[in-house]
């Protein structure tokens, strides 16, 4: 199988041509701040050195869209309590296992004897429950609207297949409320947004219309290849220079404007909004996360086992909140690269490869050198 069209989206010559057009579109003396909402974009930007192709007055700001980075310590502690105080098999995605709680990570809890296992999908966790009918299996669900349909389908399947030893601790979050919180934040001035490509395959483009309508900022939903991102930046700059602000879909080869109706339907059947949820670094945000609906309450691990409901303040030295809001660059954090590294993360932004700090730590040294000159 050859990725015929993919190569074109990584073509260096086309990339330089687009960069030239971006350079031609910027007004000298104006500073542009564009937020890439999604951690997948942050990763691509550093991996392909997209920062280096942009004019100096176009600044990319990292957004809150890394599903691992936004999980607060209290939820990690709750997960560890669930895993250690009950005779269960606790399953979660790999990166989640390295997120620090107030005392330890899930990996460390596993080393201390808890039965914690990494899975690649909720379906894997359900399969494990079917293979081990004598054990309770809990899936620790994280992620934005890209991942939530997968959890919803698995819960629907568990019920349809009568798997009674499977349950879910739900930490799914939604992308619009933190964006609104960021836009309301007085310490941040943004000119436009690169919209999250794969979240949008599910929710569509319409949920982002409040950004141009209420805040007067352009949004361009973009793919993840280098040319997708450059193209989206050019489209945002074109809106700004034309005095337009609207939601445009650069990634229309995959993203339908109305999203995926089947995914939205299963999500609305299985989940309901939590009144509020705590985000790492951003605090409590109303109606920003999902829990299991009443119809699926018997599959809710929090109800089946009970969790302590721990609240833990973010570590003082860690400035993930400012990084998640785009107020500071990763290297401006007091502990970046010294006390906080991918091997020994203090903050969540250093844990996942999609986290702005980890992406910067791995790929960003050249960009930083450029800024220091």
């Amino acid at each position: 199988m050859t990725m015929r069209y993919m190569d074109e989206f990584r073509d260096a010559e086309l990339g330089r041509a687009l960069a030239g057009k971006i350079l031609g579109a910027v007004e000298p003396g104006r500073h542009y701040k564009v937020m890439e909402v999604c951690g997948g974009h942050t990763h691509s930007i550093y991996k392909y050195g997209i920062d280096d192709l942009l004019p100096e007055n176009v600044e990319l700001v990292h957004g809150p869209g890394c599903p691992v980075c936004v999980i607060p310590m209290g939820r990690v502690d709750d997960g560890i309590a669930l895993a250690t105080e009950n005779d269960i098999i606790f399953t979660c995605f790999g990166d989640m296992m390295r997120v620090p709680g107030s005392e330890k990570t899930l990996t460390e809890a596993k080393a201390d004897g808890a039965d914690i296992r990494m899975v690649y999908s909720p379906l894997d966790a359900l399969r494990l429950a079917k293979q081990q009918p004598d054990r309770e299996v809990v899936f620790f669900a994280i992620g934005f609207e890209t991942t939530a349909p997968s959890t919803a389908l698995t819960l629907r399947r568990a019920r349809a297949e009568g798997v009674t030893n499977f349950s879910c601790m739900c930490n799914h979050v939604t992308i619009v409320p933190p964006l609104r919180a960021l836009l309301d934040s007085p310490d941040l001035r943004l000119d436009g947004f690169i919209g999250p490509g794969h979240v949008s395959t599910v929710v569509g483009c319409r949920p982002f219309e409040f950004i141009p309508e209420d805040y007067g900022k352009p949004v361009v939903v973009a793919g993840f290849e280098p040319l997708d991102i450059l193209h989206a930046i050019r489209m945002i700059l074109a809106q700004l220079s034309d005095g337009r602000c609207e939601v445009e879909n650069q990634y229309s080869r995959v993203v339908p404007y109305e999203g995926n109706p089947a995914a939205l339907k299963v999500m609305s059947e299985v989940f309901e909004l939590r009144p509020h949820f705590e985000w790492r670094g951003l605090g409590f945000i109303s109606q920003s996360a999902l829990k299991l609906s009443d119809a699926y309450a018997e599959l809710d691990a929090e109800q089946r086992f009970g969790v302590p409901g721990v609240r833990v303040a973010d570590p003082k030295a860690c400035q993930c909140g400012e990084v998640l809001k785009g107020v500071i660059k990763p290297y401006e954090c007091k502990v970046f690269g010294t006390a906080c590294t991918p091997e020994h993360a203090i903050g969540t932004c250093m844990v996942s490869p999609e986290g702005a700090c980890a992406a910067y730590y791995n790929y960003g040294r050249f960009a930083r050198e450029k800024e220091l000159v």
Partner: protein, 80 residues
């Protein structure tokens, strides 16, 4: 369990399940009753994928897969 199927939980490649990214996979075989499909990655790795959200699906289709679930058709992105 498909441990080792997607060896990407590391700092350099990015993680396809933990992050907000999806990967392209081609449908090899369909279990219509269970709405599951055996799909193949470009590297040849295979996995069971939920296809309920992207029906109708036929063998040979290219899907965008995230956390074991196909969330969109991606036939326009790749060629056989």
């Amino acid at each position: 369990m498909s441990e080792g199927l997607f060896p990407s939980c590391d700092h350099t490649r990015g993680c396809i399940t933990c992050g907000d990214e999806a990967i392209r996979m081609r449908v090899v075989r369909i279990d219509a009753d269970r709405e599951l499909a055996l799909c193949s990655e470009e590297s040849g790795e295979r996995a069971s994928v939920e296809i309920a959200l992207v029906q109708p699906v036929a063998a040979g289709d290219v899907l965008l897969v995230h956390a074991g679930t196909a969330i969109a058709h991606a036939d326009g992105e790749v060629a056989a």
